[in-house]
C-alpha cells in the first residue's frame, strides 16, 4: 500500500537534468514496467469468531501485483487473504481475468497468483528481482493502483532506512524491510518498487506515525518465499524458538565470563517445541550464528551498517541447520541444530483461510484462545477479559499449565432447557471436564463421554462453582440446539 507522490520539484529537477537519450530509455523502461504491473481485485470472506460456524459478509479489496518471469504474479498476502474470488486487471485491457492463488505466505506478506487464461499474457512483460538490497538514499519508483482507479500510478522516492521490523499483516514475525519516503496508500499493496528496471521490493505497509514512511519487502525475503515454494509447498520461516535479551551490561558479561572483545545475546527462555529445545538452555549466551559474531546489542554487521542477528536465521529455510557458538557455564561450545517454526499454545498472530476451532455440546460453545478470539473486544489489548489477556501475554514466559497445548475457552452458552442455569458463563477457560484435564479441544470429545454420576461437570480457571449439566438432558438437547440456532456443524477441529 503506497502513497502517491506528487511530481515534486526534486523529481522535475532530476528529469530536467537528464539527457535526451536517458529520458527516451527511461520512457521505454516505464512502458515495460507498466506492462508488468497489474491490479488485483479480491473478494474476501473472513470467519466470524463470535459465531464460529458462520462466515462474515464478504468484502472487496484491491491491490497491485507484478508479473514474474514464469508468468506468476507476485503480490501481498494481505491483498488475497481469505479470498473467495480473485480478478486481475491489466492497465490497458478492458477485460478482467480470473486468477487463483498458487502460494501464500502470510508471515512474509507475499502471495503468488496465476492467471490460467493465456490471453492474459498478451502485451505483458515481466520483471526480474534485484540481486541486492537497494542502497540508502538511492531512488526507487513505485508502480501500482492506489486508492482504486484503473490507471497506473508511478511515484518516486528514496530509500530512507533499512531495518528489521514487524510485518503487520500476520503480526507474527519481524523481517528485513526497506523504508522509503513515499507515503503508502491502500491499493499500492503488492505493487513493485523498481530500481534500474528490476524489482527492488514489493510495497506492503505504511507507518501510522510520522509522514512519508512507507515500506517494501526486499528481494531477499521475496527470494526466500520463492525458493520455499519451489518444491510445491509453503513451509514458512524457521526461528530459533528462544526469548533473549541483550548482553550489553558489563556486570552480566563478566558474571557469564564472556571473553574479552566478544559480544553476544543472553538466552532467557527456551520455547517448548521450538528449534532450540534440547540444544540451547536458558542462561546460555549466544556468541555467534553461522560464524557471524553477534554484538552485545544483538546486532551483526550488515552492508555498511548493522542489523539484528535474527536476519541470519531469516535467511534459512525450514529444516536447514544453524551453527551457534555459545557460552555455557564459562565454556565455549559449538552447536548445530535444525530450524523449524515454533508452534504456539496461544496464537499471537493472525490466521487466514482458517476456520476457528470450535466444539459445541449442550449449547456450550468451546473455542480456542488466540488473538482472533481476543479481537472480539474493541481495543482488546486492554479491554478484553483480564485473565485471558494475562494468559495471552505471559503464556510463553510464566509457567502456566505446562500440560496445555491450547487454552480452551467457553465463548458462550446458547440458552436451552438443558443449560438453563449456566447461560451466563462466557469467556471462561476450561480446566477439566468430568475430572479430565482439557489440554486441547480434541480432549473434549473423550471427556464428555464420561459423565460423573450422570452429570457433565466442567471446572473453570479462577475457581467458582463448576458448570454442571445433566448428561442425559445435554445429550438430548444436542440436535435441538444446533437446529434452533442454525448451526450446520457441532465442531470444527481442523
Amino acid at each position: 500500500m503506497k502513497h502517491l507522490i506528487p511530481l515534486t520539484g526534486l523529481i522535475l529537477l532530476f528529469l530536467g537534468c537528464a539527457t535526451g537519450d536517458f529520458s527516451r530509455s527511461l520512457e521505454k523502461q516505464t512502458i515495460i514496467n507498466r506492462a508488468a504491473t497489474v491490479k488485483i481485485i479480491s473478494v474476501a470472506q473472513a470467519p466470524n469468531h463470535y459465531r464460529p460456524w458462520e462466515m462474515e459478509n464478504y468484502q472487496t479489496f484491491s491491490g497491485s501485483g507484478a508479473i514474474l518471469k514464469d508468468g506468476s504474479i507476485i503480490t501481498n498476502a494481505h491483498v488475497v487473504a481469505d479470498s473467495r474470488y480473485l480478478l486481475v486487471i491489466k492497465e490497458n485491457d478492458p477485460r478482467r481475468y480470473e486468477a487463483r492463488i498458487l502460494f501464500v505466505g502470510h508471515e512474509c506478506d507475499l502471495a503468488l497468483l496465476k492467471v490460467d487464461d493465456p490471453g492474459f499474457y498478451e502485451g505483458t512483460t515481466h520483471l526480474e528481482l534485484a540481486k541486492t538490497v537497494p542502497s540508502l538514499n538511492s531512488v526507487v519508483t513505485t508502480y501500482g493502483f492506489p486508492v482504486g482507479g484503473d490507471r497506473i500510478s508511478i511515484t518516486k522516492g528514496v530509500v530512507s532506512r533499512i531495518k528489521i521490523d514487524t510485518y503487520v499483516h500476520q503480526w507474527k514475525s519481524a523481517f528485513l524491510l526497506v523504508q522509503t519516503d513515499a507515503a503508502i496508500n491502500p491499493g499500492n499493496s503488492g505493487g513493485p518498487v523498481l530500481q534500474n528496471g528490476e524489482i527492488a521490493g514489493i510495497a506492503f505497509q505504511a507507518s501510522g506515525e510520522g509522514e512519508n514512511i512507507g515500506y517494501m519487502i526486499p528481494t531477499g525475503i521475496i527470494r526466500h518465499f520463492l525458493d520455499d515454494v519451489a518444491d510445491g509447498s509453503y513451509d514458512g520461516f524457521p526461528d530459533l524458538g528462544i526469548l533473549w535479551s541483550t548482553l550489553d551490561n558489563q556486570s552480566l558479561k563478566s558474571y557469564l565470563n564472556v571473553p574479552d572483545g566478544s559480544g553476544g545475546i543472553y538466552v532467557k527462555t527456551i520455547l517448548p517445541g521450538g528449534s532450540a529445545e534440547g540444544h540451547l538452555e536458558a542462561g546460555d549466551a549466544i556468541l555467534s550464528v553461522d560464524g557471524v559474531p553477534i554484538a552485545d546489542d544483538g546486532s551483526i554487521a550488515f552492508e555498511s551498517g548493522r542489523i539484528m542477528f535474527g536476519y541470519l536465521v531469516d535467511q534459512k529455510q525450514v529444516g536447514e541447520a544453524v551453527a551457534c557458538e555459545i557460552l555455557r557455564e564459562g565454556s565455549i561450545i559449538s552447536l548445530e541444530f535444525d530450524l523449524y517454526p515454533t508452534e504456539l499454545r496461544i496464537r499471537n498472530y493472525y490466521q487466514y483461510e482458517t476456520k476457528p476451532r470450535y466444539f459445541i455440546y449442550g449449547g456450550i460453545v468451546f473455542q480456542s484462545l488466540s488473538i482472533n478470539y481476543l479481537e472480539m473486544w474493541e481495543e482488546w489489548w486492554n479491554k478484553a477479559d483480564p485473565l485471558l489477556l494475562y494468559y495471552f501475554g505471559y503464556n510463553l514466559t510464566d509457567e502456566l499449565y505446562p500440560h496445555r497445548e491450547e487454552f480452551v475457552v467457553i465463548n458462550k452458552v446458547l440458552p436451552d432447557a438443558a443449560n438453563l442455569y449456566v447461560t451466563d458463563v462466557s469467556d471462561m477457560v476450561v480446566d477439566t471436564v468430568n475430572g479430565m484435564r482439557i489440554n486441547r479441544m480434541e480432549d473434549l470429545e473423550e471427556a464428555l463421554k464420561q459423565p460423573i454420576n450422570g452429570y457433565i461437570v466442567i471446572t473453570l480457571d479462577g475457581g467458582g462453582a463448576p458448570v454442571v449439566l445433566s448428561a442425559r438432558d445435554a445429550a438430548a438437547s444436542h440436535n435441538r440446539i444446533l437446529q434452533s440456532y442454525g448451526i450446520p456443524r457441532d465442531r470444527e477441529l481442523n
Partner: protein, 485 residues
C-alpha cells in the same frame, strides 16, 4: 371515625417533624476540613499536592465526632468549624476503621463542645417517614434536606470491609460527605457516604453499622470487622449443580469454592461444601437471608452486623452429600497477612533503590495509582496476581516484590527497559518481602547480585559497582532517600 384517625396521624407527624427541626439538629452537626496528601505510589519517596475537603461530622457522647474513614486517608491536617462560625479548631484522629468506613475524631480543645449536643442513636430498623439531613454549607449557612428510605444492602469494601447501607432518596445535589441523617425523632439513623446524582439518591451507612462500631469501641479494645474471606457462588436454583453436590432440589445454599488460609472459619469449610445456614438462620439460593429488620440481606451480615470478633459461629453445611454442623470463632482482620496490601494504609509505600532499580511491594494502591482506568492500564500479570492471590500468601512469600522501574545509568545498561517485573529470587534466595530484600542487600558480600524475575528475566550486577553507582543515581534523579526503611 376514619377522619379522626387521619387527623391524629397528621398531628403526630407534625409533632415529630417539629421535634426534629433543623435548628434542633444543628448542634449535632459540625464541619470537618480535612487536608489529605496522598503518597505517590509510583515515586514512593514523594507525595502529591495536598488537597482539602469539607466533610461533616456528627457529635456523639464522650467528646467525640463521628465521620467517614475514607476521606481521612493520608490526612495531614484536620480542622473543625461549628454552628456557622468562622473560628477553626484543630483536631486529631482517635480511630480510623476503613473496614467499616467509620472514624472517630476530636477537637483538641474541649471548649469546642460548649454549644454542641451529642446525638441520640436511633434503634435498628427501617425509618418511618421522611428523614432529614442537616449540613453547614460554606459561609456558615445551615441547610436542611429531605431523604427517604429505599432499600438496604450489605456493602463490601476492598478488601475486608463490610457495612450495612441504605439507599435513600435525596433532594441534596452534592452529597456523600459524611452528612448525618436524622429520623423523625431527631435521632441519628446513618451518615451519607456516597451519592448517585443521576437518580437523586445517596448511600447511607446504617445506624446498625455505627452501633456495631461504637460497641466494639466500648471496652477500649477495638477489633473491627471479623475477617471472613470465603469465596462462594450462589446456587441460584441450579438443580443440576445441586444434584451433583448431592442435595435435593428444594434445598438452598451457597457453593464454597475457596477459603483464604487465615480467614475465620478456615478449618470449618472445605471447597465444594454447600453453606446452608449460619447460627440457625437459613441462607437461600441467592446467598441472602431474611433479616428481622431489613428483609433480604447478603448472608455476610450474619457474621458481622450483630457480632464481634471472638464470637462463636455455627454453620450448617452439606459436605459430599451429608449434612453437618461446623463451628468456628470470628477472628480479627490482620492486614499484614495479605499477600497484596490493602489501600489506605496511611503509611509511606515501602521502597528500596539499588543499582538504580526501584523495588516496591505490589499493593492495591500501586495498581489503583494508574488512575480511574487502572484495570486497563496496569500490567496484566500484576492484575492477575491481584485478582487471584490477594488474600492467599504463597509458601515462603509474604509479599510480592516488584521492580517498578530502573533509573537509567551506565551501571544498569541493558536493564533499563525493565518495569513491573515480579522478583522471585536474589542470589537464589526467595524474595519474601521488601524488608527481607533490604536486609539482604545491606548484608550481602557476594561479588555479584543475581535478581531472578518471573518469566526468565534476570538482572546481574557487580555488587560493589552497583552500590557505588546508586548514590550518584539518587542524586541525579533527585531522590533523597535510598529506601523507605
Amino acid at each position: 371515625m376514619r377522619k379522626r384517625i387521619l387527623l391524629l396521624l397528621v398531628c403526630l407527624g407534625l409533632f415529630a417533624l417539629s421535634a426534629a427541626g433543623s435548628d434542633d439538629l444543628a448542634p449535632h452537626v459540625v464541619s470537618v476540613h480535612v487536608t489529605q496528601q496522598r503518597w505517590d505510589h509510583h515515586s514512593p519517596w514523594q507525595k502529591f499536592s495536598p488537597q482539602t475537603a469539607h466533610i461533616f461530622g456528627t457529635v456523639i457522647s464522650g467528646g467525640y465526632i463521628l465521620t467517614e474513614a475514607y476521606p481521612l486517608a493520608d490526612h495531614s491536617m484536620i480542622q473543625f468549624t461549628k454552628m456557622g462560625e468562622n473560628r477553626k479548631y484543630t483536631g486529631t484522629v482517635v480511630l480510623k476503621d476503613y473496614n467499616s468506613n467509620l472514624a472517630i475524631i476530636r477537637p483538641e480543645e474541649t471548649s469546642f463542645f460548649a454549644d454542641l449536643l451529642p446525638v441520640k442513636l436511633a434503634l435498628p430498623g427501617i425509618p418511618e417517614g421522611d428523614c432529614t439531613t442537616v449540613v453547614w454549607e460554606n459561609g456558615g449557612i445551615l441547610k436542611t434536606y429531605k431523604t427517604s428510605y429505599l432499600k438496604s444492602y450489605v456493602k463490601t469494601y476492598r478488601y475486608t470491609g463490610l457495612s450495612l447501607c441504605h439507599r435513600m432518596t435525596t433532594d441534596q445535589s452534592k452529597a456523600g460527605r459524611g452528612e448525618p441523617v436524622f429520623n423523625r425523632q431527631g435521632e441519628l439513623m446513618g451518615i451519607i457516604s456516597n451519592s448517585f446524582p443521576t437518580d437523586k439518591s445517596v448511600e447511607v451507612l446504617s445506624i446498625d453499622s455505627i452501633r456495631r462500631f461504637l460497641t466494639d469501641l466500648e471496652d477500649g479494645n477495638f477489633q473491627g470487622i471479623p475477617f471472613y474471606w470465603v469465596e462462594t457462588s450462589a446456587l441460584k436454583g441450579d438443580n443440576n449443580l445441586k444434584g451433583y453436590l448431592g442435595i435435593g432440589e428444594s434445598e438452598e445454599g451457597l457453593y464454597v469454592s475457596k477459603i483464604a488460609p487465615f480467614s475465620s472459619g478456615r478449618e470449618a469449610f472445605l471447597p465444594g461444601d454447600v453453606l446452608q445456614a449460619i447460627d440457625g438462620t437459613a441462607i437461600d439460593d441467592n446467598g441472602t437471608y431474611e433479616d428481622p429488620f431489613y428483609g433480604k440481606l447478603h448472608y455476610s451480615a450474619l457474621l458481622f452486623l450483630r457480632k464481634q470478633v471472638g464470637d462463636p459461629v455455627t454453620a450448617r453445611i452439606v459436605r459430599k452429600g451429608r449434612k453437618r454442623e461446623v463451628s468456628f470463632r470470628l477472628e480479627p482482620v490482620e492486614p499484614g497477612r495479605f499477600l497484596i496490601q490493602p489501600e489506605n494504609s496511611d503509611e509511606q509505600p515501602g521502597y528500596v533503590i539499588w543499582g538504580g532499580m526501584l523495588f516496591q511491594e505490589l499493593t492495591r494502591d500501586y495498581l489503583t495509582s494508574y488512575g480511574r482506568e487502572w484495570r486497563e492500564k496496569a500490567d496484566s500479570r500484576l492484575l492477575y496476581l491481584y485478582d487471584y492471590f490477594e488474600a492467599y500468601p504463597e509458601a515462603g512469600r509474604n509479599r510480592i516484590v516488584i521492580l517498578n522501574k530502573v533509573f537509567p545509568d551506565a551501571v544498569n545498561t541493558g536493564y533499563q527497559g525493565l518495569q513491573n517485573q515480579v522478583l522471585e529470587k536474589v542470589n537464589g534466595i526467595t524474595a519474601e518481602d521488601l524488608s527481607m530484600l533490604q536486609d539482604y542487600l545491606g548484608t550481602c558480600k557476594d561479588t555479584y547480585l543475581v535478581f531472578e524475575f518471573t518469566g526468565g528475566v534476570k538482572v546481574v550486577l557487580l555488587r560493589e559497582k552497583a552500590e557505588e553507582a546508586n548514590t550518584a543515581i539518587l542524586k541525579n534523579y533527585g531522590i533523597f532517600s535510598v529506601s523507605s526503611f
